[in-house]
C-alpha cells in the first residue's frame, strides 16, 4: 500500500469517524476542513539524502508493508499547526491554547512517532476509528474551552475556582488497542518554547490541570456515593472541560456533630480514683463497718478529721446522673468526729472488723475485701481525702426516692381527685329500710343487732332473735374425776345343765312332718 493509498484510506476512515461523532453528538474541531491531514503532514516531510539511503542501515527496519523504506518520523512544531489554531491560541491563555493547538493540530493523527508504527499503517479500521474518536473527544474538549460563543451546549463560562469540582472521567470506549491520551504535559513539552506569552489581561490560571483525570481508555475509577462525612473536596482546580463541567455548589465542609461536653463539677472529679475493681455501685446495702479495736486505738491518736468512722447507711448511697452532677453542689467538707465503737457494741452484732472505703464525693463505697493486691485495708493509712463525711441533710435522698432509680422516678400526681374529698357523701351506710337484709358493706354482729333498741316505726326491720345460749362450754381442765372404791373379787357361780338329744330316725322325722297341720299324735 502506497502512501497515497493509506492517506485515502485514512480519509475514508476519518469520514466515518466524523459521521460517527456527529451521530453521537460530538463536534469535531476539524469539521469543514477536509484535507487537513494531507495538508499538515505531507508538506513537512522532507527526506534527506541520508534518510533515503539503505533502510537497513539508517532507519533501523522502518519499512512499510510493501518493503519500501519509511521515513524517520519527525515531530511537528507549533508552527506546523494550522492557521486557525494558531490564531486561536494567540488570544487565549496558554493552557487553553495548548489544548486548542493539540485539537487543531489534527489530533487524529500524530506524527510524533514512526508512521509505520501507527495503527493506521496496518489499515485496521477499528483501531483507526478508536484513535480518531479519542482524539476527537480531546479536540472537542480543547475547542469548547476556547470557544466563547454560545453553542449548543450553552454558554461557556469558567466557573469560579472555588466552585469547580473535579471532572468526572470521560471514557472513550475502543475495541482496539488503546491509544495514548493527549495530556497537557505532553503538549507543554512539545510546545514549551513556541508557546506565546501569556496575556496579562487574561485571568490567572488556577493551575495546571489534566485534561483527563484518568485515561480515557481505562475504566473510570469508582466513585462512591456521596457521603455526609466525606472529606472536604480538594482545592479547586480548573478543568478545561466546561461543556461537561456543571457549576456545582461545593458541599459544605464537614462539621462534626456538635457535642455538648459536660464537664463534671469539681467535686465529681475525685482526687484519687479508686481502682475500678474495688469500686462498687451503690446497689448493695452498706454495712456499718468500724475499725477493729486495735485500729481504733490508733485512730484516737490520729487526726480525727482525716481518719474517721463514717456511719454509712443506705441513704448515703447516691446515684447521680450528669444533670444532677451539674446542678449539685459539693458536699461540705466538715467531718463528723470519729465514733469509736465500744467492745460491747462490737459484741452485740455490729461488724467492725472490716473498714469501708468510700469514694470521695459520690458516696459510692467499696469494701476492703475486694482489694486488688489482697492486702488488708488499713484505715489508718487512708488519706484524708478518702475519708468521707456523711452527706448534708438536704442532700440525703429520701427512702422513697431511693427505691427506684432516678431515671425511673415519676412525679407524684397530686392532682388526682380523691374520693374522700367528695362532698355530701356520708361514709356510714344506712341500713336498708326494707328490713329484710342488713348492710352488706360492714359485717354486723347479731348480738349487737339484737341489743339495738327497737324502733317504733312500723317499717323498722325485724329484730334478730338473741342467740341461743343453751350450750354449756366447759374447759377440759374443769372435768370432775370421781374415785370409786375397788370392787372385791368374787367368784361367779355358774349354773350349767344339759339334756341329751334323742337320736331320731328318718322315719320319726318323717312322721313329724306328716303330722304338720294336724294335732300332734302324742296328745
Amino acid at each position: 500500500m502506497t502512501r497515497d493509498e493509506r492517506i485515502s484510506v485514512l480519509e475514508g476512515l476519518l469520514e466515518k469517524v466524523r459521521q460517527s461523532a456527529r451521530d453521537r453528538g460530538l463536534a469535531l474541531p476539524s469539521d469543514g476542513s477536509h484535507g487537513l491531514l494531507r495538508v499538515t503532514a505531507s508538506p513537512r516531510l522532507e527526506l534527506s539524502d541520508e534518510e533515503t539511503a539503505a533502510p537497513s542501515e539508517k532507519h533501523a527496519g522502518l519499512v512499510d508493508s510493501n518493503g519500501a523504506p519509511q521515513s524517520k518520523p519527525k515531530l511537528l512544531s507549533f508552527e506546523d499547526a494550522p492557521s486557525e489554531a494558531r490564531t486561536a491560541v494567540s488570544s487565549v491563555p496558554a493552557h487553553v491554547a495548548i489544548a486548542a493547538a493539540a485539537a487543531a493540530r489534527g489530533g487524529l493523527v500524530r506524527f510524533d512517532g514512526a508512521f509505520a508504527e501507527e495503527p493506521t499503517s496496518v489499515g485496521d479500521p477499528d483501531q483507526i476509528e478508536a484513535l480518531a474518536l479519542a482524539d476527537a473527544h480531546a479536540a472537542e474538549q480543547g475547542r469548547d474551552s476556547v470557544d466563547e460563543a454560545p453553542d449548543a451546549d450553552g454558554p461557556i463560562t469558567l466557573p469560579p475556582a472555588a466552585s469547580v469540582r473535579a471532572p468526572e472521567p470521560v471514557l472513550v470506549r475502543t475495541s482496539a488497542r488503546p491509544s495514548a491520551p493527549l495530556a497537557l504535559a505532553d503538549l507543554e513539552e512539545e510546545f514549551g518554547d513556541s508557546l506565546p506569552p501569556q496575556p496579562t489581561d487574561a485571568p490567572a490560571a488556577p493551575g495546571p490541570a489534566p485534561l483527563y483525570p484518568t485515561s480515557p481508555i481505562a475504566p473510570p475509577a469508582y466513585v462512591g456515593p456521596p457521603m455526609s462525612d466525606r472529606s472536604p473536596p480538594m482545592p479547586p482546580a480548573y478543568v478545561a472541560s466546561p461543556a461537561s463541567t456543571r457549576p456545582a455548589v461545593a458541599p459544605p465542609a464537614y462539621v462534626p456533630p456538635s457535642t455538648t461536653l459536660i464537664e463534671p463539677p469539681p467535686f465529681a472529679e475525685p482526687s484519687r480514683r479508686d481502682p475500678p475493681s474495688t469500686t462498687r455501685s451503690g446497689t448493695e446495702p452498706p454495712a456499718a463497718i468500724a475499725p477493729p479495736p486495735r485500729v481504733a486505738d490508733a485512730l484516737q491518736e490520729a487526726e480525727p478529721a482525716s481518719t474517721g468512722y463514717v456511719d454509712v447507711s443506705e441513704l448515703d448511697v447516691i446515684e447521680l446522673d450528669e444533670a444532677e452532677l451539674i446542678q449539685s453542689t459539693p458536699p461540705e467538707t466538715s467531718l463528723e468526729p470519729l465514733r469509736i465503737p465500744s467492745p460491747q457494741q462490737s459484741e452485740e452484732g455490729e461488724v467492725f472488723d472490716r473498714p469501708t472505703r468510700l469514694s470521695d464525693a459520690t458516696g459510692i463505697y467499696g469494701d476492703a475485701e475486694a482489694d486488688e493486691d489482697g492486702e488488708p485495708f488499713d484505715p489508718v493509712t487512708l488519706p484524708p481525702s478518702r475519708a468521707l463525711a456523711p452527706l448534708a441533710e438536704g442532700q440525703r435522698p429520701t427512702s422513697e426516692d431511693e427505691d427506684v432509680p432516678a431515671s425511673e422516678r415519676k412525679p407524684r400526681d397530686v392532682a388526682r381527685p380523691l374520693d374522700d374529698a367528695l362532698p355530701d357523701v356520708d361514709d356510714e351506710e344506712l341500713a336498708p329500710e326494707s328490713g329484710e337484709a342488713l348492710s352488706q358493706r360492714y359485717p354486723t354482729n347479731g348480738r349487737e343487732a339484737a341489743r339495738a333498741p327497737l324502733s317504733d316505726s312500723p317499717d323498722a326491720p325485724t329484730p334478730i332473735p338473741p342467740p341461743d345460749d343453751t350450750a354449756e362450754v366447759r374447759a377440759l381442765g374443769s372435768v370432775d374425776v370421781v374415785d370409786r372404791p375397788m370392787v372385791p373379787a368374787l367368784d361367779p357361780i355358774l349354773m350349767t345343765s344339759a339334756r341329751a338329744r334323742p337320736a331320731r330316725t328318718f322315719g320319726e322325722l318323717l312322721d313329724d312332718a306328716l303330722s304338720l297341720g294336724a294335732p300332734p299324735p302324742s296328745l
Binding site: 330316725t505 328318718f506 318323717l510 306328716l514 304338720l516 297341720g517 294336724a518
Partner: protein, 162 residues
C-alpha cells in the same frame, strides 16, 4: 320302662310317672344297706337323716335330677334339689317322685308340694295330704314358703289347743 310307656301312651300323667320312679329309687337305696332280711323301706326308716339323704341323693343324682339337700323348719321337712335341671313344667313329676319314694318309708299316704323356686333350686314340702292342699293354696296366692310353714305349724297348734 312300663311306667314310661304308660306315660307316653297317655294312660298316666307325669305325677304318676314320678311316683313309680320314686318307689324304684327307694328300693335301690334300701338295697345298699346290705341287709337282705329287711325291706328297703324299713331300712330307710330306721336310718338316720344323714344316711337317707346320702343314699337317696345318690340315686337322684344318677337319674340326673341334681343334688339333694334336706331342710328342717320346725317339724316341717323340706327336700331341696339344687340345682334342678327341670323347670316349672316338671313340678308334678318331681312331686310324684318324692311321694313315691317316701310313701313306702312312711307307711301311709304322703303329699309333696313345690313351695319355692329360687334360681335353679326347687324346694319341696312334705306333709299330709290335707295340709299340703292348704299349703298349695297358700303358694298359689303368692305366700312365701316360710309363711306357709308357719301357717301349718299354727294350724296344728290351734287344733290341739282346745
Amino acid at each position: 320302662m312300663a311306667p314310661l310307656l304308660a306315660f307316653l301312651s297317655g294312660e298316666v300323667d307325669a305325677r304318676q310317672l314320678g311316683r313309680q320312679l320314686g318307689a324304684s329309687v327307694t328300693a335301690r337305696a334300701g338295697a345298699r344297706f346290705k341287709d337282705p332280711g329287711m325291706l328297703p323301706q324299713d331300712l330307710l326308716r330306721g336310718a338316720s337323716l344323714e344316711g337317707v339323704v346320702e343314699l337317696l341323693g345318690g340315686e337322684l343324682a344318677l337319674l340326673g335330677l341334681g343334688n339333694l339337700r334336706v331342710e328342717r323348719w320346725g317339724r316341717a321337712l323340706l327336700f331341696v334339689l339344687d340345682p334342678c335341671p327341670l323347670d316349672k313344667r316338671a313340678d308334678g313329676f318331681l312331686c310324684g317322685l318324692f311321694e313315691g319314694a317316701l310313701t313306702g318309708v312312711a307307711g301311709r299316704e304322703v303329699a309333696v308340694v313345690v313351695v319355692d323356686r329360687t334360681g335353679a333350686g326347687v324346694r319341696l314340702l312334705v306333709g299330709s295330704v290335707g295340709a299340703m292342699a292348704r299349703a298349695e293354696a297358700l303358694v298359689n296366692r303368692g305366700v312365701f314358703f316360710t309363711e306357709v310353714v308357719t301357717a301349718l305349724h299354727e294350724e296344728g297348734e290351734a287344733v290341739s289347743a282346745p
